[in-house]
């Protein structure tokens, strides 16, 4: 068991075209570190130079925006689903 991470289209080139990958870690931050280990290059695309998530990237744990949880310190466990989604996807007027 591990955490399922959904990869947005612009990053799928770094995951051999896979839209979902498995990672392990106890927080979102750990998970991103593990994702980087398995698919080098992903982290610098979703995080800025200081390691913080970029302004235009939203991360959801089990469908909840992590900004409503504990940000990148949000806990994750086996079986959870994490989505990485470009902020620009949607919303209008």
């Amino acid at each position: 068991m591990a955490v399922t991470v959904r990869i947005p289209t612009p990053l799928q080139r770094l995951t051999n075209g896979q839209g979902e990958v498995q990672c392990t870690g106890s927080t979102v931050n750990d998970l991103l570190a593990d994702l980087e280990k398995r698919h080098p290059g992903v982290k610098e695309r979703i995080c800025d130079e200081s390691g913080k998530l970029r302004r235009f990237v939203n991360v959801f744990v089990n469908e909840e925006d992590i900004r409503f949880l504990q940000g990148d310190q949000t806990a994750v466990k086996d079986g959870d689903e994490v989505s990485i989604i470009p902020a620009i996807a949607g919303g209008m007027a």
């Binding site: 470009p86 996807a89 209008m92």
Partner: protein, 420 residues
């Protein structure tokens, strides 16, 4: 003939071909269409525009399509008029209403963006279109894509007003009501969109779609006599419209169609129950904190606005501001607009007018300067919050006696013969 050069990232400036790209692969910044303005300047004059049919396509050199317009040929060029009675009630000298509540075909400004998006979707060869919507976009995609012959999947939050549900179902799309907020619908659609090869108008073809909102701005400038107003009050949901009105003003200045020194202040309007953009403006921050929406203005109920950052920047850099209003203030403003100007707008229009009123009362918008209030949707679609608030018609028997006895006092002193 197209004047579209390509796409470019608004953040890092990286250039992309004019394909189906909606987010910068490197920094996740938003993608914008880039035009050959020098070439446009040579052909797009006031005279040329004025000779064309009254639709949004009269500005086509500034719109991101390759061939001829294919969808929404009757959309745009909605009424724009100077308000007298409302101006008097608000105590201002020069007030205008831009009225997209009567947009063809679905009574909201979304017909503008969808006309562009579907024309572009045809050019790309898509056979299926989709969208995530708070209702108005759903109606517009459902209607315009029916006529254009697309397969349609339309995703909405499950708690929308009946008018917006019926206003989609009648066109027979596959209407999917998602149990959740718009933000849930939107996240889901981003995931569906990366799996199915559909044109999600506000996701993967968003750079083209969003440009349609510029036509609202162009029309304000043209209809005001090729000049810019000093203040424009704009409703904000995802935050795109205010940025595109700003882009419209910049482009018209660049092309010499309006005074290049004109200074327009833009104001963001939201409901207090969902005001992530206005909150950010008031904090003068550049970090938009998402919220969980709770307001009757469902078409503006986006807690995690895609263009929130840019909307905030646009309002602040223009010298404008943002304000939010309660559900009661929204209803009062809907009634005020109807009883003074004869325009029945939806809750979002109530938000915009109520915010304009508040900013005028606060002295933020001066009473002696020109003001435009952006009305973007129709009240027939959002009747629920009005049901218990408008009273009832006077009920009588079909007799003259019943009429006169029921209206008794009201008729006292009313002449019974027309004066010669």
């Amino acid at each position: 003939m197209s004047y579209m050069i390509g796409l470019k990232c608004r953040e890092c400036g990286r250039a992309y071909p004019k394909e189906v790209i909606f987010v910068c692969e490197y920094c996740f910044g938003s993608i914008e269409v880039d035009y050959d303005y020098d070439a446009i300047r040579r052909v797009l004059t006031k005279e040329a525009i004025a000779r064309r049919p009254e639709s949004l396509w009269r500005y086509r050199e500034l719109l991101p399509i390759e061939g001829d317009p294919a969808v929404g040929l009757s959309s745009g060029f909605t009424p724009f008029f100077r308000s007298e009675r409302l101006a008097e009630r608000l105590g201002v000298e020069e007030l205008y209403i831009k009225d997209d509540s009567v947009s063809h075909p679905t009574l909201s400004f979304k017909d503008r963006v969808v006309s562009i998006a579907l024309t572009r979707a045809k050019e790309f060869g898509f056979d299926t279109v989709a969208c995530a919507s708070t209702g108005n976009l759903a109606n517009s995609v459902a209607a315009l894509s029916a006529r254009a012959g697309f397969h349609r999947y339309i995703f909405i939050p499950s708690d929308l007003e009946m008018g917006k549900i019926i206003g989609s179902l009648i066109y027979r799309p596959t209407l999917v009501a998602v149990e959740g907020t718009y933000d849930d619908v939107n996240r889901l659609c981003a995931e569906i969109g990366s799996k199915y090869p559909w044109a999600f108008v506000n996701i993967n073809i968003r750079p083209y779609y969003a440009e349609g909102s510029k036509t609202y701005g162009y029309e304000v400038l043209e209809q005001l006599g090729w000049r810019a107003p000093q203040h424009i009050v704009v409703p904000c949901a995802g935050g795109s419209l205010i940025t595109k009105i700003n882009k419209a003003i910049k482009e018209f200045k660049l092309l010499g169609l309006i005074d290049p020194d004109a200074h327009v202040k833009l104001y963001a309007s939201q409901a207090t129950g969902c005001a992530p953009i206005v909150n950010t403006i008031k904090e003068r921050s550049d970090i938009v904190k998402p919220v969980k929406p709770n307001t009757i203005a469902k078409s503006l109920a986006i807690g995690n606005p895609a263009d929130g950052y840019y909307a905030t920047k646009t309002a602040l850099e223009s010298g404008g501001w943002g304000e939010s209003v309660s559900d009661e203030e929204i209803i009062d403003a809907m009634r005020l607009l109807a009883e003074t100007e004869g325009v029945f707008t939806e809750t979002a229009g109530g938000v915009t007018l109520a915010v304009a009123k508040k900013l005028i009362e606060q002295g933020v918008i001066p009473r002696d300067e020109s003001i435009v209030v952006c009305i973007t949707g129709n009240g027939l679609k959002t009747q629920e919050p009005l049901l218990s608030r408008l009273g009832k018609p006077v009920r009588i028997k079909p007799t003259l006696a019943s009429f006169e006895s029921t209206l008794g006092e009201q008729l006292a002193g009313v002449p019974t013969k027309r004066r010669a």
